[in-house]
Symmetry: C2
């Protein structure tokens, strides 16, 4: 793919479209848009220019310009992604939606909101909690990520076992297509089979099929009661073996079942200067149940707690008030950040397997850890079979050795995952980070169909090129 | 589109692929495959041949043959569809999955099943209820429809308010593409963002993007308790106005909220020789709540019942045992069948609007009913904003007049629906019945993208042609 450079004339045209103050060309300021939360030295790439448009119409004009001039475009939310999705792989223009952060409508009668993509996800819930409503999209980066990025990646998170992932709550989208048309998909309808479900195709397409400029999200009644259980196990295997049993044995679908191994808890606690009870347990599950009646929630929590104790848990701690709940969840939410401080050289993974296969996965991770002499701490959304195994560079290895080990160990982990019926990303996406592994897990026919869809939407391959798969 | 006829040589080749007994050419037997549950005289079309293959491999060979010879293919499930999706619009070959009805696996540990597409939906639940599990796909035709058809149409039904529609529970598909490749999409994973979500694109694509030959479905813990409320209202408006209030006021998401107007109840009761209490009420809501604790379910039912009485309900009847629940649900399930007996000339519609707009829709339906001097009984999944308004031929009109009125009245209903933020199908699909109205509700850009996707999958347009939209 040959792209053209962003010339002075193009900068002038961009200034004319979005206004001078919304065009960033200063190298120091551009730097912030060259990376996301993947390790910068491996994946970063500088944009030639960043624009911060204020409307779908402005974005449409920019996209038409980019098509005319064959300049690559990269849509960007908060830059909190973990697969390089918002990185301008081929330079060109970054379209940051940071200034498109308005609440267009709160529609209480339909229990929906209409939002711009640059809104911080957590702020949505802050706005509506007094009305007894909530948005069930809940990625771990909820305090910083944008709704637009959540849609692009079909973000998961800590409540997905019960509530599903972001896509379930996206009822409508306004999209600027890769050829610059503005189109509305879906609407305030909870059911719709009018032709192909393009809305759902856009969700999780990592900004390669267009730029979301507006979204209609569905709200749920805010649960009035919530209990978190912190359950300690002797070792990883007994914790992990518990996960499928909660749903099949307890016949309860908890809000979330999070898993943290000893190293993950330790690293996050040190980072937060926090002390959890029994920090020295081999592994922990953080199980949340919620509902609209205290008795029901307590009874569910009790059933799960007993089931855990019958199945080898050392101890079950109950967090039934906001302060203790925040303490335990904060440890869970900050693991990724803590590891980054501890070692900037790491590969945060996002593998997903059938839940009943998790117990078979863990010994394989241990084997790979030993084989390559690297630490592989593991945590994540065990209730969905989605584990953030993380390869951490051994300080004794050179960078050259690390890159070689990383590539080999990843291939081995992904192969093991695939053989267990799993795949390489549950919620972080493929982006540029994992695209070379797509052929390992996707059927060649499936890949070819994806490429054809991309071509149908984006004949010039200008929309977020270099993500998910390469052309030619 | 020019297709070739099915010659004797092709019949021989089909016999070679699926075996002589699986090729139907007898005209009398073919007739059964010429229609679905839409009125036959308007939409039926004879196939040239019907095949009943036993495997994906056989289907793959048939599809390759059809591509080579340019013969149209129509996949068919139980033929219980309501938009002509399984009708061979251009003749050619009907591929009926009726013999592909095996249970491949019941995976209790992952709470999933692997099934062939020809299995009757209700039989799935019969198989697993003793294990305390259930499949939440629940179309009204659950006792006759096939899983494959439910996937093709993304079927909704009576439990969608709480559980969502069929697509939410389809974890994986095996698909024979329109060019004859066999591909696996998804798997036993509850989260997956590995590239575009092709599985979700296939769901609801009405058999135009391939033939599903296997599906992995997700099961849920079977609720132990269930209460149905039959709530009587003076008139349609007060019943319909209640619907959004249950969720916003009661902060409860019931399993389902079904609506039946007086004429629908009367017709179904006569058909079943059934007598519901207060059959003379102007309209009824049938509200179901379920859960795993009797106290919770009873409390939810009580809250909803009180809310209804505060908002003008005449009476609330509680059906809390299997016999009475089956009685009221049977009336609801048999409305469509009853109307067909009463008048074979009718148009069963499937419009969907934002739930808060239902009260505005009803007077419009009444206006259209008066204007064209036809009855427009109305019933359906009010909790989803999805109403089966049905145009019934006035016996005083000639067939010619009826077809003219039907076309005009439909256009008017669809326009009203669109103006309220709705669309023309919530769960029955577009098929051949509604394709001429696609341009009324879909953005031209959206339609163009759909056509491009169809072309990318099916370059020769042999897979269920004449459905959703036409090509030149």
């Amino acid at each position: 793919m040959k792209y053209n450079p962003v010339t002075k004339d193009i900068i002038d045209e961009l200034r004319e479209i979005v206004g001078v103050k919304n065009v960033i060309t200063d190298r120091e300021k551009l730097e912030a848009y060259s990376h996301d939360e993947t390790p910068a030295e491996q994946y970063a790439h500088m944009p030639e220019v960043v624009v911060t448009p204020g409307s779908a119409e402005e974005i449409s004009r920019i996209v038409k310009l980019a098509n005319r001039e064959l300049i690559p475009l990269t849509p960007r939310g908060a830059g909190s992604g973990l697969s390089g999705g918002a990185i301008p792989q081929y330079g060109g223009i970054v379209i940051s939606v940071e200034k498109m952060n308005k609440v267009i409508e709160i529609d209480y009668d339909n229990m929906m909101m209409v939002l711009e993509p640059g809104i911080v996800t957590n702020s949505v819930n802050e706005m509506i909690k007094d009305k007894g409503l909530f948005f069930a999209g809940y990625p771990m980066s909820v305090e910083t990520c944008y709704l637009g990025g959540n849609i692009a990646e079909n973000a998961g998170g800590g409540k997905a076992v019960k509530y599903g992932v972001t896509g379930r709550y996206i009822m409508g989208l306004e999209l600027v297509t890769p050829t610059g048309e503005i189109v509305e998909l879906g609407g305030k309808r909870v059911k719709d089979v009018t032709g192909y479900d393009l809305k759902q195709l856009i969700i999780g397409s990592e900004g390669t099929l267009g730029i979301v400029t507006k979204a209609i999200i569905k709200l749920l009644p805010l649960p009035t009661d919530k209990v978190d259980l912190l359950v300690l196990f002797k070792d990883v295997r007994s914790a992990i073996a518990m996960v499928p049993k909660i749903m099949t044995g307890g016949r309860i679908i908890p809000t979330g079942i999070e898993f943290m191994d000893k190293l993950s808890v330790k690293t996050s606690c040190e980072y937060l200067n926090e002390h959890l009870p029994y920090q020295e347990a081999g592994a922990m599950l953080l199980i949340e149940v919620d509902g609209n009646r205290a008795e029901q929630v307590e009874a569910d929590a009790e059933t799960i707690g007993e089931l855990c104790l019958e199945n080898g848990a050392i101890e079950v701690y109950v967090a039934d008030n906001y302060t203790t709940q925040e303490r335990v969840w904060s440890v869970r939410r900050n693991i990724a950040e803590a590891f980054k401080v501890y070692s900037p050289h790491q590969s945060l993974e996002d593998i997903v397997v059938p839940i009943a296969s998790i117990p078979d996965l863990i010994p394989e991770l241990e084997r790979i850890s030993k084989k390559y002499e690297i630490q592989v701490p593991c945590y994540g959304h065990a209730g969905d079979g989605n584990l953030h195994a993380t390869l951490v560079k051994n300080p004794q290895h050179t960078m050259e050795e690390w890159y070689e080990i990383e590539e080999k160990a990843l291939r081995e982990i992904y192969t093991v995952t695939k053989n267990l019926g799993g795949t390489i990303s549950g919620e972080h996406g493929i982006g540029s980070k994992r695209k070379s592994f797509m052929e390992l897990v996707a059927d060649p026919v499936e890949l070819e169909l994806m490429r054809k869809i991309k071509k149908a939407f984006d004949p010039n391959n200008i929309m977020n090129p270099g993500k998910i798969f390469d052309f030619d």
